[in-house]
Symmetry: C2
Subunit: 488 residues, 2 copies
């Protein structure tokens, strides 16, 4: 990691790690320097020519890195003038005036410090108001919703579709989408997907509710769920009848030796929510062996399986035991939670009862959205969007890890190999969740504590689930700065 | 009803009833003449000048009537040449070849003659195949779906909306739609609608399921439902817990003296399904008095209240007792069942439990469709579409009534003052439902018998629920011709 001093006289103090490529390393180093304040707002950067000479890079590499950071809002580049560090909003400054008529954020974030929060995709606008800094998990980068592609596909569908598509449809969902998904899931997630076993639902919450009701109706009295895990998913399962068997989670994922009397197990194998472990191959085998031996059912919640950063994606567990594992996917992390579009790939024996439950519940999921998604998948716009999103989330993940490493080295960060969130564990003896949430409320920083993800949080590790997809441009380093401040 | 002989030598034998206006009367008479075969396919009509002179009408009136019937597919008008009767497909001809790859209709309609059909909006493509003639109830004219307006609104919404609209939303639904609906329902249906009491759902089946679950949770053990009524709605209610108390239906609508132990009553006051009566004012008062006195809840299923033809629309029952009546509306008859967009206007006490049930069931109904509908209502495109649809359905209703009057005078037709269907009662001593369904299958005519709408059909009146929205253009008189043939 060479230190450098640019020809312009500005000491950049860049911590350069070029193992991922020169341009990537330079971009990362610049982001960290801006975000940590080592490069102050308004500071003039060296010319691309001067910095290229200093670092021994090509001028094009430096220029490309500047362009990228300008596009991300870290730098401002005025043609014919110097490149400067952008004016980053500081958390201790007065929040900018808001003209959108939404409620003030102060009380909402103050509330989030005391009332039980609604985690992972279950919050809704107003739950947390409109905080100055938003590091809540559970949603993708909504500003990246592919509106133009969605509109183009809508036009294609409405132009081409016969009137019949507006009729009440098949409770399994549109054949066009089930076909497109079978191809996509096989290719992207290693799912063994026959369109005849795919059922389209109105979101994962509905998927899980339908499954729980069907399994309860078939005699399942207990379902194993990860501990910690998503609290609302526990509510959904319990509402359908089954008791919850807590499955402890460690660094290898959920423990398969704790299934007890469970007839079903709900797992997040690719990226455990919220701890972030990838289910170990031995555990994968243990769960599928259990399902085969006992007739049990594994429900694989693949909520963010598309977003794996540092290695090849881990294939779906379902691909190894399609007659025992239900695969559950969603557009909530790849496109938008508000679409309420999700899918199940079912073992043969569950197809008919799940379809009947879906039919009685709401007849079928709305058709137009299904046809548009099928068109997006068929034209590969969906793949392109996922790839572009993965790159963006990876950069954000990197900055989170670097800033915490630099400014809060006492916390442990885990689960960063994939997804849109990381778990920050608070060390014993330091400030706990309550104190951190109080500090965050004072900075108008919305955070999600770990506590509600335990069935009983007493004596459990404390931490924060950091979602890194919401703040845009300069607001992201500012939010991370606020996070580091409350953790310090 | 003057008989006429046109100057051209073609005897039109028009049965003219001009009480609704000359043009309307002439159009109706021409439609009946074509549909009944009195005017044969290919026959040359008199010139507008000759017929106008014959009837003593203005030439413009005759010309407008010809244009209308040409637009509807009854006549073909070639500029500079004679107007002729269009080549109407006859039911005993070979069904036209189908290029859409769907299953042959023969077996599907044959099946519908023996297997229990799925009535009123619960059928799905494939259930009845693709019959040559489709007079099934439960769907609007799908070919009239306002694709261009929907697409324009989608563009407006996607262009104007902040990223936040893609986030997980309020379980009550988008505020824009709840606001727009409160205005529309007050104006169009006399509903006492406060946006804070509106909950958007994914179709009436879900609305009813949520209500039944909430009422059951609050101690309701029995719900009164109309007899005959929609069989799947009974399944939905029973699945949530309550037993069904059958409410007999007569010419004044459901009987309020048969509520027995029911804690809730599900009614179709504007247009009883399937018999078509409008609930009498005395009955309306009796049901709301019962609800007030006993703390009972009336659920008003206003599935086609927008389509009343011969009088002013009957205002919603909810408007007279908003703290005791739940108003339930839907886009399934005004736009398309596949949208799965519906709404509830709730008494204050039910808002919070229904919203909680909705949240746990599927978080909320997809946002984009809600925003598009709000835009359509706000820009009055929705009102325009409903008005245009009402006019089309009225014409179709008229032709149905006229043809049955002319060719099957032994059947009783009822429920024709509103909606998209009529009930045809089969007289005792003539062929019953089984025989009629057998004859229909032979003509590839899809019909819905009344039998499954009774909890126990033994000894009940027999009939057919005729939906008149599906066959387009020339296919409609051909379908009616087939109906008259099987009834004859």
């Amino acid at each position: 990691m060479p230190r450098n001093r640019s020809g312009s006289g500005v000491d950049l103090h860049l911590d350069l790690d070029t193992s991922g490529g020169r341009r990537t390393g330079l971009e990362r180093a610049l982001r960290t320097a801006v975000a940590t304040g080592r490069l102050a707002p308004g500071a003039v950067l060296p010319s691309t020519r001067a910095l290229a000479a200093e670092l021994g890079f090509s001028r094009g590499t430096v220029s490309a890195a500047y362009d990228q950071l300008a596009a991300e809002g870290y730098l401002t580049a005025v043609p014919g003038s110097s490149t400067r560090v952008a004016e980053v909003a500081r958390p201790d400054a007065t929040p900018p005036a808001r003209g959108d008529g939404r409620t003030s954020a102060g009380s909402a974030t103050a509330r989030s410090a005391s009332a039980p929060p609604i985690p992972h995709g279950q919050a809704f606008p107003g739950d947390h108001g409109n905080p100055a800094h938003d590091l809540l998990p559970g949603r993708p980068d909504l500003s990246a919703f592919p509106s133009a592609a969605w509109l183009r596909s809508t036009r294609r569908v409405l132009t081409a579709a016969p009137p019949e598509v507006h009729a009440l449809g098949d409770p399994r969902g549109r054949p066009e989408l089930r076909e497109a998904l079978a191809g996509y899931l096989g290719r992207a997630r290693g799912v063994h997907a026959d369109p005849a076993r795919v059922v389209i639902t109105s979101g994962y919450a509905q998927s899980l509710g339908l499954l729980a009701a069907v399994l309860a109706g078939a005699g399942t009295t207990a379902a194993a769920m990860e501990e910690p895990g998503h609290p609302l998913h526990r509510v959904t399962v319990r509402r359908a009848g089954p008791d919850i068997v807590p499955l402890p989670v460690d660094d290898l994922g959920a423990r398969a030796d704790a299934l007890g009397p469970a007839g079903a197990a709900v797992l997040t194998p690719a990226h455990q929510y919220p701890c972030g472990a990838t289910l170990h191959p031995d555990r994968r085998r243990a769960f599928t062996a259990w399902a085969r031996d006992t007739g049990g059912t594994v429900i694989e919640d693949d909520y963010d399986g598309e977003f794996r950063f540092d290695r090849q994606p881990v294939g779906a567990l379902q691909g190894t035991a399609p007659d025992h594992v239900v695969y559950a996917g969603t557009t909530s992390k790849t496109l938008a939670p508000a679409l309420r579009l999700a899918w199940l790939v079912l073992p043969e024996r569950l197809v008919e009862p799940v379809v009947e439950a879906k039919r009685v519940t709401d007849a079928h999921t709305q058709s137009l959205g299904q046809l548009v998604l099928a068109d997006l998948i068929g034209g590969h716009a969906y793949d392109r969007h996922v790839r572009a999103s993965r790159l963006r989330y990876r950069r954000r993940r990197d900055l989170l890890v670097e800033m915490l490493h630099a400014r809060a080295p006492h916390v442990r960060v885990q689960g960063v190999a994939a997804g849109l969130h990381a778990l920050v564990l608070l060390p014993d003896g330091g400030p706990g969740e309550d104190e951190i949430m109080r500090r965050a409320a004072a900075l108008d920083l919305a955070l999600m504590p770990l506590r509600d993800h335990w069935q009983d949080p007493a004596g459990r590790p404390q931490g924060l689930i950091i979602g890194y997809s919401t703040p845009q441009g300069r607001a992201y380093p500012a939010a991370l700065d606020a996070l580091c401040t409350v953790l310090a």
